[in-house]
């Protein structure tokens, strides 16, 4: 896919999840992969205390032409990648629209309010139905369980990047992923990340 084939310019992606799920790493990997394709990427995110157990978001603006604001305007997300399912709903409330799409990890992380019993967590079926209702198209994968089978739930974020590549909306290629990951990680970790990426692609395409 060529960069001129972006379905929107800027194409706006929000990667969302819970602090500790590897949101920042996922957004940087995706941003660097697209930079390899000659695209101009702007990423906005927050970290620090705001991350501890809280909802986190990375905003990616992908453009053939120029830098954009590190905050996506309300209602202008084209793709929401949710590492945790209720975060998809939360993001769509502010940044969604009838043309938005979503890729959703189905494994919940319970907010402390749910753990303490003050509020309840929706059922998997409810969540799927709501995400579908708020998007033009939605994909659901259980990346966390697949990552657990690989030995560590932290691979969930990379698996979701693989799944996003599998969807095919963005010019993401395995060789770019490999280069980006080799540049930023010790060599002994590259292989496992490649497997996680491949597994993600497979989860969408099979």
């Amino acid at each position: 896919m060529e960069k001129s084939e972006l379905s929107y310019d800027p194409y706006n992606v929000i990667i969302t999840g819970v602090g500790g799920q590897g949101n920042v790493l996922a957004s940087r990997v995706l941003g660097n992969m697209l930079t390899e394709k000659g695209l101009q990427v702007t990423i906005g995110e927050t970290f620090g205390a705001s991350q501890r157990g809280g909802s986190v978001m990375s905003h990616l603006r992908i453009s053939a032409a120029s830098s954009w604001s590190p905050q996506i305007p309300k209602g202008k997300a084209h793709m929401v990648v949710a590492l945790e399912p209720i975060e998809a709903i939360r993001v769509l409330m502010n940044y969604g629209s009838p043309v938005a799409k979503a890729l959703c990890n189905t494994r919940p992380i319970h907010p402390v309010g749910v753990i303490s019993g003050e509020v309840s967590y929706p059922t998997p079926d409810e969540l799927k139905q709501w995400v579908k209702e708020l998007t033009e198209k939605a994909w659901f994968v259980n990346a966390t369980d697949a990552a657990m089978q690989m030995g560590n739930p932290i691979f969930g974020n990379i698996m979701m990047i693989g799944a996003l590549a599998g969807i095919g909306e963005l010019p993401m290629e395995r060789e770019d992923f490999e280069m980006v990951i080799s540049r930023s990680m010790p060599s002994d970790k590259v292989k496992a990340n490649l497997s996680a990426y491949d597994m993600g692609v497979k989860m969408i395409r099979q």
Partner: protein, 646 residues
């Protein structure tokens, strides 16, 4: 793995975080010394430079606090080297005493102060601003408007500083520092600088004489002349740009990240041919000729900036002075309520302001969609309160501190401080903290509370501080308390690093910024030398910690220190390594029938625990549990078992 910041070639384009771009800019400028104190959103600048110092001739340190960081960097400048000091907005307050004096004394080698402000306090206890300091101490202020500028402007700041022999402030914000964008590299210079401090010349010789603020009025006048030199450079600066029609209906004047929001807002509502955008990179002092050239073009002026007005005030003063040339203007911004005076901005807030001024209707999303999404989010996306990480030593520490003070029953309270443990103000730390201000203030307040016995106050006083905070700002308050015979318990939550900002080393550790071995200052020995009684506990040992704290509360005189030592769960040496396999015996857990009424999930609330509604028992979330084993000690039924991981 590779170090892109060093290896990237001239002309190559990379995706860099704003902080990395600032660091690369400093390297391209040939910076020799950089010092700072960790603080979000500034920390990655020093981190990136300390990585680079492994390969380049460059001295980088995490200083004990921001004032010392500025002094360390100034010394390098006095010796003719280019130097930089980096801090979050609070740091400028800490360093401000030296800052004022440094402005008067002037600098030699180029010296740049990089404060990173945090509008909306996304990771701060305030949204204070450093811009006002530039005006207060009379130094030039630069504000990059995108990622490329974040790099390029640093280099320009060094040149300006060297030319006018004054410190230059280059201010960033969270949405640049922690955002990433495309940056094209320039080349890295050869390194052959040598340091020498010339001090034998005439007293007022700025190049060969001593460095001082004396004689004060003479130096002050010199400083003001330097500022005028900066203004003439600013008139020609490539960092002040205009886009838009020749005579716009509305002129937006902006700087920093607000430039990107304004650009986007103009695009969103399609008013490119009606609205002009003047993006300023040199925001103090404003260049009057340049300002005149653009102010004359429009009758309506909107100033877009974050938090309290700075640019707006300065533009208005200039416009008043230029009134006979540019005519009468109508201003929109903070003063008329078009732009909020608290919190950060975003493209939507700028759209709202422009749409109102120009009478345009704008809908961010179809109303029906917005209503439905809001209804579903209210129903199905329960809020995510901040909490300590699974396995965090602070949850265990505050569990004990809170329970002991409750059982003591004298309305004892805890003065808090700055770090992850500030979260103990919230339910995740059982609402234990009752005061929270700046670095070290908990100890200072405790020192004061501890002297109020003569007025009948008999509540036990406790202060909790982190290990890095202890060195940064607690020591003077602690010494003050001991000397003045105050009475309180100083609890040092020692998790072996500056954890909240990403494990930067501090003087209590055996490692420096570069990763080399360094002499460590032992917290316990320091406290003992100052004359306090010191106890040390592992907060994961709930029973022992509880017992010790009870004993300290019995001892009513003097300052007692309790060090709660346990490494942060996210530290590189601990991360993803479980100490215990934890499991819940479903046959023993009595659930809601237990006298505890499921204390583990209802009160202790570690994210690693889940309440299984159907079975009516607690369970462990294998994905989340960090294996600290603390919950095993709090279950009254003994239903939680821990097994040491081999």
């Amino acid at each position: 793995m590779s170090n892109l910041i060093l290896e990237g070639k001239k002309g190559s384009r990379h995706l860099l975080m704003g902080n990395e771009a600032i660091a690369r800019g400093a390297l391209e400028a040939g910076v020799c010394v950089a010092a700072g104190y960790p603080g979000t959103p500034s920390s990655e600048i020093i981190e990136t430079l300390s990585d680079a110092s492994k390969e380049r001739k460059l001295y980088v340190e995490w200083s004990v606090n921001e004032k010392v960081a500025m002094e360390v960097a100034a010394a390098a400048s006095f010796a003719g080297l280019r130097s930089m000091c980096v801090m979050k907005q609070n740091g400028v307050n800490v360093a401000s005493d030296f800052l004022l004096h440094l402005a008067y004394s002037g600098t030699r080698g180029g010296m740049v102060l990089v404060p990173c402000d945090d509008p909306e306090a996304l990771s701060s206890a305030n949204e204070g601003e450093s811009r006002h300091f530039a005006k207060l101490v009379e130094i030039p202020l630069l504000e990059p408007g995108d990622f490329q500028e974040a790099k390029d402007m640093v280099k320009w700041a060094f040149e300006l500083s060297e030319e006018i022999k004054s410190l230059v402030m280059l201010r960033s914000v969270t949405r640049l520092s922690h955002a990433s964008g495309s940056v094209v590299f320039d080349e890295l210079p050869e390194q052959d600088t040598t340091a020498h401090f010339s001090h034998s010349g005439a007293f007022i010789d700025p190049v060969e004489g001593p460095m001082t603020t004396l004689p004060v009025t003479w130096r002050h006048t010199q400083l003001q002349e330097k500022l005028q030199q900066a203004v003439s450079k600013f008139e020609e600066s490539p960092f002040n740009t205009y886009t838009g029609p020749q005579t716009p209906e509305l002129l937006i004047i902006t700087s920093s990240a607000c430039h990107l929001y304004s650009k986007e807002a103009i695009d969103l509502i399609g008013v490119k041919d009606r609205v002009g955008l003047l993006k300023l990179g040199t925001t103090w002092p404003l260049p009057p000729k340049l300002m005149q050239q653009y102010l004359i073009r429009a009758d309506k002026i909107l100033i877009v900036e974050e938090v309290i007005s700075f640019l707006e005030d300065n533009v208005k003063i200039l416009a008043a002075e230029l009134a006979s040339k540019i005519g009468i203007k109508t201003f929109f911004g903070k003063k008329n309520g078009a732009i909020p005076t608290a919190g950060e901005l975003n493209p939507d807030l700028v759209v709202t302001a422009i749409a109102k001024i120009l009478g345009i209707n704008y809908e961010a999303m179809p109303q029906a969609y917005g209503n439905r999404a809001k209804a579903l989010a209210d129903l199905g996306a329960p809020g995510r309160d901040l909490t300590f990480c699974p396995g965090c030593p602070h949850r265990a520490s505050f569990w004990t501190i809170h329970n002991v003070l409750q059982m003591d029953n004298r309305e004892g309270f805890v003065c808090g401080d700055i770090g992850c443990y500030s979260l103990a103000m919230l339910p995740c730390g059982f609402g234990t903290l009752k005061t929270l201000h700046s670095m070290g203030s908990g100890a200072g307040l405790a020192s004061g509370f501890g002297k109020l016995k003569m007025f009948g106050m008999d509540q036990p006083v406790v202060a909790t501080v982190g290990d890095s905070t202890f060195f940064h700002a607690v020591l003077p308050a602690f010494i003050n308390a001991v000397h003045n015979k105050s009475g309180f318990i100083l609890i040092i939550l020692d998790n072996s690093g500056t954890a909240m900002t990403g494990f930067q080393p501090h003087p209590g550790l055996q490692v420096d910024a570069k990763g080399d071995e360094a002499p460590h200052i032992d917290i316990v020995s320091v406290c003992e030398a100052i004359g306090a009684k010191v106890s040390v506990c592992d907060p994961f040992d709930i029973q022992h910690t509880q017992q010790t704290l009870f004993e300290l509360l019995e001892d009513k005189e003097g300052v007692k220190v309790l060090v709660l030592k346990q490494i942060c769960a996210l530290s590189p040496e601990k991360k993803a390594k479980k100490m215990y396999e934890v499991e819940i015996d479903e046959t023993v857990c009595l659930g809601e029938n237990c006298g505890c009424n499921r204390m583990c999930t209802r009160v202790f609330k570690c994210p690693g625990l889940i309440w299984d509604k159907e079975k009516g028992v607690s369970t462990i979330d294998e994905v989340i549990c960090a294996g600290c084993g603390v919950c095993a000690s709090i279950c009254p039924a003994g239903a939680i078992n821990k097994k040491e991981v081999a």
